[in-house]
């Protein structure tokens, strides 16, 4: 009815049902859809009349850019701070950092992003950072990074708390191992012991936690894109839900799920290479 509008009558309805394949049983419809998907055809939206895969192809790079930037940011802060913390467990710095990360853990991303916008875009009045300020990378890459900055920082804060906590407890445990005492007695510098001897075994744990982090990462990604109107997959998904564009919802859910499963698989593969003991267990 929505599609036909004024041309709605029983003949046209039957014709449209035939065009859309709605006259076939639901199981058949499902297998037809799966068949199309396997050929890389996710269908065409009834609402916007744009093909689902072109929408996804336009949105996906933005998600990837956000994930890469935010994860680099999170790791760049988490690794040095965790090392500083693990140097003197239960020292004043460690207590402060642990309490801080615990507090951050309890602040959901949708609150972080709202307060960042309130502070940076509204109070400080920095241009290009608020909602709907998105500029594509091709147009102006500096403005692009500016428009994604608050989003990336929000996602990075969520990932940072996880990485920091995992890495810190792992490093504290590793630093009590005998090979660390051995390295210390050889007179190696503290920095060298930390990076070469303690961090390398802990990096496996870090990789493991990165793949656990994906759920939280997606939630943060969706929320941030929705709030700042950044046209990534999360934004497209929520707008598709609001306009009842089910074919687009289906397509995005499929792509995101397959993506997550693939990423998990790749991480498991990398972990096996970095630490061959795991596959033997």
């Amino acid at each position: 009815m929505v599609i036909l509008g004024n041309a709605y009558n029983p003949t046209n309805k039957a014709l449209l049902y035939k065009q859309l394949g709605l006259n076939k049983p639901i199981i058949d419809q499902y297998f037809i859809w799966i068949g199309h998907v396997l050929h890389g055809n996710l269908g065409t939206s009834f609402i916007s009349r744009v093909s689902v895969d072109s929408t996804i192809r336009a949105a996906l790079p933005i998600d990837i850019e956000l994930i890469v930037v935010s994860q680099i940011l999170a790791l760049a802060i988490a690794i040095p701070l965790a090392m500083r913390s693990a140097r003197k467990p239960d020292g004043p710095v460690d207590r402060l950092l642990s309490a801080g990360s615990f507090t951050l853990l309890s602040i959901p991303p949708f609150i972080v992003v709202v307060f960042l916008v309130l502070l940076v875009s509204i109070k400080w009045g920095l241009a290009n950072t608020g909602p709907s300020a998105y500029v594509s990378f091709g147009t102006d890459w500096i403005a692009n990074l500016e428009s994604l900055s608050l989003a990336a920082i929000t996602i990075a804060i969520g990932s940072f708390t996880l990485y920091f906590r995992v890495l810190r407890s792992d490093l504290v445990a590793t630093m009590q191992e005998e090979f660390i005492t051995m390295a210390r007695s050889k007179g190696l510098s503290r920095r060298r012991i930390m990076w070469r001897h303690a961090f390398r075994p802990s990096s496996v744990t870090l990789l493991g936690s990165a793949s656990v982090n994906i759920g939280g990462l997606l939630a943060a990604l969706f929320v941030v894109q929705y709030f700042l109107a950044i046209p990534g997959l999360g934004y497209e998904l929520i707008s598709a839900i609001n306009t009842s564009d089910y074919l687009l919802v289906q397509g995005i859910v499929l792509v995101v799920s397959v993506g997550v499963v693939l990423v998990n698989f790749i991480f498991d593969f990398i972990i096996n290479i970095v630490d061959p003991r795991i596959s033997r267990e």
């Binding site: 309890s106 959901p108 949708f110 997606l218 709030f227 609001n242 919802v249 799920s257």
Partner: protein
């Protein structure tokens, strides 16, 4: 005196047998403050319509966008609704979503995890394979996908969807925890004595798994409250005008430059609630000396 002397000698040989008066790490004052805060929130949520609060839907056009004052403790929004009363009523949605879906998740996931870890065999292999397959699928996407098709959305549907989506992870945690207990000597001893399965599950396994269960239950509730908040923020939870912490923040977006109180109070309520829950869960885990469950 001589007894004390003996103890010190033992301690010097590297086996400090001297029992500390409190074997477990004390819970601390902060823990009880957190428990008190959660209790206060619960009382507010349960008795919201008995307490002397303004109607959260009442639009008082004579007091629009009022700043916090004695009359309106947290101020009013752009159509004159009392924010304090909306925050208190909003806690109902968040808390019942958190508790309700964890009742479903733990109600199904925990018994299943204990049973498969105790029985092992084909049953365990099948259930575990299914659960691990489900775990590979991102729960947040599944939740959003189901909620997008299952309209109109209400609290009950949200509880059911999140509850079911949480079963695999709960199953994994409880199964791992039970596995580590099930191979211990006292379980074997009970089996040799001819204790029934039911007795072993309830009298031997359950008391040992319970601390892990309780601390993860609390952390689970915190996680669901966050998730419900995010869904509400995205407009996928209960429909306005029913207040929830998440949709209050969402609704305040358009006016937050003029009236930041609208965002600040529900955010503060949510963050404090989560911080206390996380702290309680974390403290209980160290208190019961739960070794990190390998997941």
């Amino acid at each position: 005196m001589s007894e004390n002397y003996g103890e010190i000698v033992i301690a010097e040989y590297g086996h400090p047998q001297v029992e500390k008066p409190e074997g477990r790490e004390p819970l601390g004052v902060l823990f009880w403050i957190c428990v008190g805060w959660i209790g206060l929130n619960l009382i507010g949520a349960i008795f919201a319509n008995v307490l002397p609060l303004e109607n959260p839907l009442y639009e008082n056009f004579t007091a629009i966008n009022a700043a916090p004052s004695l009359h309106h403790l947290f101020g009013t929004d752009e159509i004159g609704r009392d924010i304090f009363s909306r925050v208190v009523y909003g806690s109902r949605i968040s808390i019942s979503a958190g508790v309700g879906s964890m009742v479903i998740g733990f109600g199904i996931g925990a018994p299943l995890g204990m049973l498969t870890a105790y029985r092992r065999g084909h049953f365990d292999t099948i259930i575990t394979t299914v659960m691990y397959t489900l775990l590979a699928f991102p729960a947040i996407v599944a939740t959003i996908a189901v909620l997008s098709f299952w309209v109109p959305r209400d609290l009950f549907k949200i509880i059911v969807v999140i509850g079911i989506a949480s079963i695999p992870i709960i199953y994994r945690i409880i199964r791992a925890a039970t596995l580590s207990v099930a191979s211990r000597d006292f379980i074997i001893a009970a089996k040799v004595q001819g204790a029934s399965d039911r007795r072993i599950l309830f009298k031997e396994l359950l008391p040992n798994v319970a601390p892990i269960l309780v601390s993860f239950l609390i952390i689970g509730i915190a996680t669901v409250v966050t998730l419900e908040g995010a869904l509400a923020f995205l407009g996928l939870s209960v429909n306005p005008p029913t207040p929830s912490w998440g949709n209050m923040i969402n609704e305040a977006r358009s006016v937050m430059a003029q009236n930041p109180w609208l965002v600040i109070f529900p955010s503060l309520a949510l963050c404090l609630f989560l911080l206390c829950l996380n702290f309680i869960g974390d403290r209980l885990r160290t208190h019961f000396d739960v070794a990190e469950v390998k997941i």
